[in-house]
Assembly symmetry: C2
Homo-oligomer: 272 residues x 2
């Protein structure tokens, strides 16, 4: 999916919500455990209930890998289900990969060739040749970690160098030598508040993937105030607050209601 | 496996070689493609041929994931095979993971609980709470990226901050607040030469996992000269130069010969 198509979806749905599929066998409703593939059964119901209110899905690989082969099968079935039934949805493999060139090439092959997923999150620590193998696929995106939502983001990402530049700023600036706003986005945590102003000085037009609204405590209003562009420029993720909003047989219905609430807040922000 | 057991294996085998199982279906001998699980058949033969000369195996997750469910099965079978037949071998899941706390917790569960692997490589960019979930398992290790072997290591890892500390040095120093030399090692590329001196100033006793000898051009002698401690303190990895040394039906035999050559060089270094 290219940038223009993504912007059109946002305008059409009045939403820039991404539903995070952090599906944990220990947290899904009990009645699903009798299903042949409980993880996929959960995802399918959540997707059907939330699709009208979101423009993206983000399966978090850790949750699938923790179940080994079964988890990997559930992940593949989930991606296929979205692609077949909701081809307008942008899919993000939240994998935070990044390795030497020949290895990043293998990861790119997995997500972009084998599975035809739109985008993958990548960690910047290993630099240019760990990122560029993901950039050779037409219509596919790298979503590079810049300033994350967690407490540990302060340990290294905010370190200021001798040029007066903080590490996340260097990542934003340097990575533009390898990519542009048609094939790269950045992860910026919703918990970072006014830092979005500093980020927009360096990447005024790039899309940002924003986790941390909901369970992690970030504010949608603040993210929009400091981070929104004329094309929206934001994909805001919510995982736990939507998919685990209810643990009974009504879980999907309630997830849909929660997604709709967020979508309505987003419509307001888009109208400002 | 704890540190003392690892040191004993190194002394016993006069080797600190790790064989990297970067198994690529496109590079293995053609006659294996008729096997039910060619990747596992290749690994099994390589392991049997090289086990006398190495003390560790490092399957690189990217290569298995690129094959989807089949690859994940081959990965699990490989780990089980090593654990059953060569329980004295140290196993490294080369995954370069790292995410917010609840997600890193899931990765830790995968590698340490489900699969009972000794160690996993982790990326430091997201800071403390992305690393600590891996540190709660007795006898298990985090191998944190510090100064990698690739060209891109210069992009961010060498950035000097306002305190005069380079990013990889800050990673080495800061991470010692979370862990010690009994549950953490560091990745330092063999291509980094004399930088090992600077690294040993900060982590004099930690084990270092050293990729980049062989296909990537690092020198074993230089690594030992600047990086070896009285307990060795090094696990040096070679992947392609060993496992793809021959592409005929003799591939495993030749891999064994190549591993033995490296082991003999290592025995010399240990005797110095």
């Amino acid at each position: 999916m290219n940038k223009q198509q993504l912007i059109e979806q946002i305008k059409l749905k009045k939403s820039f919500l991404c539903v995070g599929l952090d599906t944990d066998i220990k947290k899904i409703p009990e009645h699903l455990l009798k299903e042949e593939d409980p993880i996929f059964a959960f995802n399918k119901a959540i997707i059907d209930a939330t699709a009208p209110y979101c423009i993206a899905y983000k399966p978090n690989l850790a949750f699938y890998e923790s179940m080994g082969v079964k988890g990997w099968i559930a992940f593949e079935k989930t991606v296929e289900y979205i692609k077949k039934n909701y081809p307008e949805q942008f899919i993000i493999a939240d994998a935070k990969r990044g390795d030497i060139g020949n290895t990043s090439q293998m990861y790119a092959r997995t997500f972009f060739e084998e599975m035809d997923i739109d985008s993958v999150t990548v960690a910047p620590y290993m630099g240019e040749d760990s990122v560029t193998p993901f950039l050779t696929y037409e219509g596919k995106w790298v979503i590079l970690l810049a300033l994350t939502s967690n407490k540990g983001s302060h340990d290294f990402q905010l370190t200021t160098d001798t040029e007066g530049e903080r590490l996340f700023e260097k990542v934003l600036r340097k990575s533009q030598e390898w990519a542009n706003d048609e094939n790269m986005m950045y992860v910026v945590g919703a918990t970072q508040g006014r830092m979005f102003e500093d980020i927009r000085k360096i990447v005024p037009n790039h899309f940002l993937l924003v986790p941390g609204v909901g369970a992690q405590g970030g504010s949608l209003e603040e993210v929009c105030k400091y981070g929104m562009t004329k094309d929206c420029g934001l994909i805001v993720n919510s995982s736990r607050a939507i998919i685990y909003a209810d643990k009974t047989e009504r879980f999907a219905e309630v997830a849909g209601i929660e997604a709709k609430k967020v979508q309505e807040q987003m419509a307001e922000q888009l109208n400002k």
